[in-house]
Symmetry: D2
Subunit: 326 residues, 4 copies
């Protein structure tokens, strides 16, 4: 990796939660691009294809061209519209599934148009809330079938599944690194991979570095990374490194060790902060943490991994943070 940092365009604006519809004012597309472009270390943007973005796609395309920011991924919107409330590609309603596949293909086409080879699918509404509510086998199969169909639409675009244990559903189907890998194997298409969201890994009692390792081990399927931080029990989408600093160092090490050379998109919800400044703060953490790892002699780290010694691991982390220490 070499600091290929990007951001979800909307993150530099303002956001809402289920109680408060607007924590800040809204920003024009021009403003959002300006704000993103002003942030040190950032060189890309990630876009969610909501109805608003689709409507303004020409404007956005021009702003992209005019800026130095690269579009690193387009995300299909399978989660902000009421029609997906009982699922998108896994819906029990065939017309909804059809629409979800069509939207995914359109996203692939739009990505190709703007010179981006990656589409993100986050099936946050595909899952269930209540016991006895869902046919877990059938709905998972429907989902896999839909993704396979989309993958075959154009093999030049990579489709990437973002996993998360819960929210907005209390239980999602594509909910962990391992479940996503199983799903990818079931789909069986070369252009299908995973988005690892650092905070989603934490939320699922996963260690993000280990998630990187698993995605490498089982078919080298890490296509994209989202980054943020949280308190482990919810997807708080906070400033990178502000809670799980050591996990982030190990994460960078394993990205490097497994040869990841994709992008890392900052994905925050700075409810109470200025969005632009909160993202800039995250970028500064990313820079500092990646530098720390880049400066390490990897043989020292490998030696600890080989010995499987907890004390040596602790000492290693202590010295990464405090190099003056013995």
């Amino acid at each position: 990796m070499k600091e290929k940092y990007s951001v979800f365009l909307g993150n530099v604006g303002s956001c809402s939660d289920r109680y408060c519809a607007a924590y800040g004012r809204s920003y024009s597309w021009e403003e959002l691009f300006e704000r993103a472009a002003s942030i040190p270390y950032l060189s890309g943007v990630d876009l969610v294809l909501t109805p608003e973005v689709l409507e303004s796609f020409e404007v956005i395309r021009k702003l992209l061209k005019a800026s130095d920011l690269k579009a690193v991924s387009l995300a299909v919107d399978h989660f902000t519209q009421a029609k997906w409330k009982q699922g998108s590609l896994s819906s029990v309603d065939p017309s909804i599934r059809k629409e979800a596949v069509r939207d995914t293909m359109r996203a692939m086409d739009l990505a190709a148009e703007i010179g981006c080879d990656l589409v993100t699918v986050w099936p946050g509404q595909d899952g269930y809330d209540y016991l006895f509510q869902a046919d877990y086998i059938r709905e998972r199969t429907l989902f896999a079938d839909g993704i396979r169909e989309a993958c075959r639409h154009r093999p030049d675009i990579r489709l990437s599944l973002e996993y998360k244990a819960k929210e907005p559903r209390s239980h999602c189907y594509v909910n962990s690194t391992a479940a996503t890998l199983l799903m990818i194997q079931e789909i069986g298409e070369k252009n299908c991979g995973a988005v690892l969201d650092y905070g989603h890994a934490l939320l699922g009692y996963e260690n993000p570095a280990e998630a990187v390792a698993m995605l490498a081990k089982y078919g080298n399927r890490l296509f994209h990374v989202h980054i943020n931080d949280n308190y482990r029990l919810w997807d708080d989408d906070m400033i990178v490194g502000s809670v799980h600093t050591l996990e982030c160092l190990e994460f960078f090490y394993w990205l490097r060790r497994t040869g990841y050379d994709g992008w890392m998109t900052i994905d925050q919800f700075p409810y109470r902060e200025n969005g632009r400044d909160a993202v800039a703060e995250s970028a500064a953490w990313l820079h500092a943490l990646e530098q720390k790892i880049a400066q390490m002699d990897s043989e020292i780290i490998e030696d600890v991994l080989r010995k499987k010694d907890g004390i040596a691991a602790s000492r290693l982390m202590r010295r990464i943070l405090f190099p003056e220490e013995k």
Copy 2:
């Protein structure tokens, strides 16, 4: 208790989350009242004094009168407006604190006007997100001072603090049964008590029945109850009894044992369901569960509690659910 069930008026409408601004259509005040009134076992409503409710207060007051529904509590809105984003009564900004106290007093006055003696304060924005962000001592003291001031405004109205460990802040100050009792003791006013939200208790690894016991033990401070259900790690606000059925039975037993005679307000977020029907389903659970407890010989239960025998406790629960069992 004898089935004094109520509902947050908005719950019979539709709701949003941080991704989807509207899972359903909006409803007029008339419709909301009609929908609430149509639900078996319900006889009250709870209202949050958002700007929209305040604006339509006269209309709502008429609809209340025209219906058979009693207003059981008015809740101050310290959480839906951007101005509270860094706290209401605990804000570091004195003008915000002043406004928060004033809004609380206004809620007390409005409650009195409509023959309701209970005001709910839920300080969901009073807390912090980041380490090193807050002066925990000072802000807690400011909060207590604000509530005390409001309590003294009119001792004929009871002020009730609703606690929750987190959300929307990742850390809230009024976050547990015990923390709320400490706060109430600090405030030192007779008309200050607690709202126990069943789901908030579950979220905080509290046992709702034990929370009832603590509120009884330390000064008899249970003023109001909210009811719903969740999966323990987040405030999912689901249909009552659909996840934690046995906890709900024990909860009813302890409400009865400690002589609670207030209301129980259904507080759900039925994102994907018809709001009216989801609330009706909760009311049906409440009725069934309360009946089960009412039919029990309390001496049998007391005998188990006296002996502190885990197996006897399990057998008791098994027989409440399956009376035909040995």
Copy 3:
């Protein structure tokens, strides 16, 4: 299923935790068999091949024969001896790995000798505690290689991997339904499957019924079931049904729906209770819950699953528990 209930033999004795070495007295093999045999609804035992059990294997074999209890599975001991503290089949030490494979093969031979076709492997020590402590890729591969080698030792015995997110390690490799399925696919042997421990599923924010579905969907790999209950955040190993009653009903439904016809072993740690009586209480719950499901018209349940309606799901559960309800 038709009430094929068994128990870990040690469960009817007494147990210890990290603070208290003995919560009760120890029992002779004869006593343990007598106690297990006295429990209604039980017809099998599960055995862990600790050094003590291996030493007394002839005695135990005779007691088995003399009783009406069937040996339903033998579990390899990869977790009670200090030598496994940094892992068994995934150890970085080749001599430890060799020993772990040898012990697994011996368990298979012993199982065959006593007419049991199932061996359980629970790799509780295979994982890590500290960040930067482990080479996640290499150790997972070593583990898979070891299991594959053992599977090939004798295809007439089924090897079954028991998964759990954590404990005794703070992070285990075989940690979820999906991770276990990935591992089984990697191993690629027909006689390799999974043990689903109901409490482990709850601990990992998994819904046990959904775990059954996934094990059915991906190759029909459910070989064995352990049953107990807990408060979701730790493997409390409590009496069945005493906490998650509705989950247990759905679990029975999906076992039946997917055609599971194996055993269900009660796996508790009744620290403070009489072990025999705590297990008997679990068996009584199992009987009651399975009866409830057996009595249901499955078409009613299937109809709810097809419609994906949360309210209908809630109503269904309410009526299973309270058949007199509308």
Copy 4:
């Protein structure tokens, strides 16, 4: 504070869990003292009055005198013996309660004898496992009565309550900072305070620094500190700082800010590590972290706290770790 670090004597030996009775060999009292004395930065020991310690008390007293280590606290053993399995001071059996009070008083006398003014009470068995198992009001009152009686036995010794949400019971009564403060107020004795265990705070979704603040705010009741680390969902008792580094920095800041001048006892369970070395590693972290805070200009920190700015808080933490950063 100025590096008053101590350790539980047993921590430098070896430990067990519920599966493995001995992860390492046992050590003589002489060896344990030698091992503790060999650790840089440590100058005290903490002792649990188990039957074994009581039996060897004269030997231990001599070893204490011969070493440079100060006895910083004696802990009553209300948790390793089977007799406490259903509670100590809160037991429903009056003879158990009597014994628990007597043991507490004996600990106070022994502490006085060896020039130590602090006794720790950790009521890990006082709580419940099952719903409908306990009379929460009565048992809490019994517990408070017992502590009060012991406090009055000798006001020259401080009694300190250690709280923890769970384990060994699935629910403990003295379970959070706020619950402990309520209990202390109920007890009403000057020599009654709290032990804050850093890992227990994390386990209870508490922020350790905020716990320090609350104990200062409500009567200045922080008498003692235990330190370790964990993954938030269980009391893993790991090496200090190896998981929650930033929390530990804030913790040191608030200890300093509130004028804490007591001891900090390392309390680990190094199952798989050499106990002496694992504790030495913790001490090295403590030294490094406390130095970092001591070097900070506190006015810079206070300024952030006054402004309640999340971005400023993040930047502050980033610069504490990486002083070369902007």
